[in-house]
Symmetry: C2
């Protein structure tokens, strides 16, 4: 693996034709946006390009897809990946098929495993879309409205609408440049769809989670325990529980949030989040887990009451150390 600059990546792309662009399984706004923006850019230069994903693109992201897609088969000359930190994350048959075969990886995850022959990585970029934008500038590609929608959505979704600490000055300058070139895009509508709108099912789930909220350590540790019994009672599906890990952290005064999901009777998957200064990765390591300083997890066995007691005690100790 060799690390290359944005300029070198642009040169490599300009010299190549017939590109396959791989994005990660469970596709999100950033891999879809960066993958399709790059594909459209390459096509605008007369090249052939196709985006490959092991999962279907969820309907909430369909507005990002180009109106016309090349369906004719072609043999790839260059295999690119975008926003994929490791080749295992292609998922399904793509992981096996393209293992060791990626020529160029465009990414922003500092944890990138270096699986590609050439890696264009900007660990300070908020999103892969930010890196792709820089590459397009270097390639002197005119950013069309369709590309702008992709790039904007990818950056907005990876930053929580510019809310998280990965939002940098360069991120905002780029978004401003996109807006200058395309003032006619309804950015507020995209934001509404991505950040405000919830299904009735999700609203009901939030209601149930609010009912289950437990306050520990004088409200500094907020906890929700989702038992099998609770899921059965309300007919909650496993898949619906994605994105609830941060739920208890929105309560005023919460420093640490814990979400317990009972995988099977007496086995709990634990998601821990920190609002600020508490290192939850260190806390989860006590239970054989780990992760990032502000977002970590582990697995514990026991009754709900036992597990809660152990976790809250570990958080209490962790707060003293942090």
């Amino acid at each position: 693996m060799s690390s290359i600059t944005v300029k070198q990546a642009a040169k490599r792309l300009l010299e190549s034709d017939n590109a396959y662009i791989l994005i990660h399984r469970s596709p999100d706004g950033d891999c879809i946006g960066s993958g399709y923006a790059l594909a459209m850019a390459l096509r605008s230069l007369g090249k052939r390009a196709r985006v490959l994903c092991s999962d279907e693109i969820p309907s909430r992201y369909h507005f990002m897809l180009p109106e016309t897609q090349t369906l004719e088969y072609f043999e790839p000359e260059i295999i690119i990946s975008s926003d994929v930190a490791d080749e295992k994350l292609f998922g399904g048959s793509l992981s096996e098929q393209y293992a060791g075969k990626v020529d160029l990886c465009i990414d922003h995850h500092i944890s990138n495993s270096g699986y590609a022959k050439e890696l264009c990585l900007d660990g300070k970029a908020a999103a892969a879309c930010q890196v792709v934008y820089e590459i397009l500038q270097e390639m002197k590609v005119a950013v069309t409205k369709e590309m702008a929608v992709c790039l904007y959505t990818g950056i907005a979704t990876d930053t929580g609408c510019f809310m998280y600490d990965n939002t940098g000055a360069r991120t905002l300058h780029i978004v401003a440049e996109i807006m200058e070139q395309h003032p006619d895009i309804d950015y507020a509508r995209i934001n509404r769809e991505m950040f405000v709108v919830k299904s009735m099912g999700r609203m009901q789930l939030d209601k149930i989670l609010t009912e289950q909220l437990e306050s520990h350590l004088d409200g500094k540790c907020m906890l929700v325990c989702i038992t099998k019994e609770l899921m059965d009672k309300y007919g909650i599906e496993e898949s619906e529980l994605e994105g609830v890990s941060g739920f208890p952290l929105q309560v005023e005064g919460a420093q640490v949030s814990i979400v317990l999901k009972e995988r099977e009777k007496g086995v709990f998957r634990v998601s821990m989040r920190s609002a600020d200064w508490v290192n939850v990765s260190a806390i989860c390591q006590n239970f054989g887990g780990g992760g990032h300083v502000k977002a970590a997890g582990c697995c514990i066995e026991g009754t709900a009451e036992e597990v809660k007691k152990q976790l809250v005690e570990a958080v209490r100790k962790g707060m003293q150390k942090s």
Copy 2:
């Protein structure tokens, strides 16, 4: 009243000393941010400046206030207002005391009533803080960390964390410039406090509102009716109901949201919001109300069931016209 440019406003401020800066009653992030940033800027130039507000600054905005405040009395040489569209909005005794006496108004509301001798208005600016930033640049004031916190928070709160359609390219370039000058500010923490954190009371209220959600017109019109009975049952205070007007609009598929609040028995205050293309101001005009295209209101008398029926019927007709 004469309209003046940012450059002229900067010149006027540089020539003046001993400034009173008036902000509006029920102070929000933008008037606090713009008022205090300007006061700090004037003080950094060796001038005296004081911010006046008829209400207390709410505790959630206390982090924006400068550590040291001038408390000595001085006679004002120039009366400035920031983010105040009309002098009635000073509130309390300030409205009477300063009616017709404001020398310079800095604002971004196109509805500004032109009450000041000189008006520096940028109707395209997302926030008064954006206009103040431009004035500070023109005055060649170094933006300190304390000023940056004020300006950032004002812009972020007035744009819903850059989510609303008032967020322009210039807005984002300015925020990026602030971040470049002050990379050490914890912007993500400010965002969390302003946009994520909720009191337990507000979480409980959201739960109750979810339970009360009614779907009309195939889910295109979502409605919540908060009767006196409901408020008594759960002990909900009138003041807690601020900011719930958009609640039903977060439901997937909703085009129009209606929130009914029973003021006294059989008298309902109606808040209507539009997600997109439906003109709710026109709908509310049928009931003697009005407002903006996407946010309007009116007052109706009757039983809850009668009022709902009339409103939903008006929305149905309004959707056909829009």
